[in-house]
Symmetry: C2
Amino acid sequence: MNNPPDAQFMYEAIRLSEENVASGQGGPFGAVVVKEGKIIARGVNSVTRLQDPTAHAEVMAIREACSVLQTFQLTGCDVYSSCEPCPMCLGAIYWARPDALYFANSKEDAAAIQFDDQFIYEELARPLNERKLFTRQMLREEALEAFQKWSVSTAKIEY
Amino acid sequence: MNNPPDAQFMYEAIRLSEENVASGQGGPFGAVVVKEGKIIARGVNSVTRLQDPTAHAEVMAIREACSVLQTFQLTGCDVYSSCEPCPMCLGAIYWARPDALYFANSKEDAAAIQFDDQFIYEELARPLNERKLFTRQMLREEALEAFQKWSVSTAKIEY
């Protein structure tokens, strides 16, 4: 059973997104992670400030939440983002495994202000050889060995 | 015009993936970023070691490469990954905008050793209300304001 969405948390994500524009720190995106009715982490888009293309609001908030909780899983947490996550952030959210995701602006809204979310969604849906990013598979046989070693390893921490 | 793939770089990505299993540091994944015929950054899966669900090999390598080059764009670079990137990493690669992506193991190979890549690809392709992750939009009108402020901001750094 999920918690019902709580508007106060989305208002905070939106406030962060506006603050980030006003301060000139980065793109118009904010996110918070909520656990047991409290915000445990906040993130804002920090791509240009940190020179890090992965520093989207959701990734920043997830990394902070995991640091706070000392875990790599956000079970029992909800993510509130001021915008529908791009594929990178949505992937990060799936790996973190929160209970729910709430967002405000849509990916079409992001595309309308020249963010590439929609383009990346379309690229992921294309076969590899039809993508704009030149993509090729090579040396699969050689790489499989690490996977086989992982399969039989007794020291691994699964996730 | 892309550089032709160079096996030595993929062998290094594969070596990193095997080393990561052998050392018990994380999952069987390695990646390198190459610029002008040289490896400028390396990454290995560090999710459990760093308690960070975003610390996949490609994300680690991209962040390191951007740090080395002091930029948030990997123009002129190639990414070599020991496995086909998951949606999070593929998104990160698109945002970093390298010239080419090479990979060895496929996402089906990853699924065969219980990594969720394939599941996340399937989820992204589903409508929001059919996803296993509970996902809802809310407060769009309120969030649009930050996008409008971004559109007219003269202080922004576009990316």
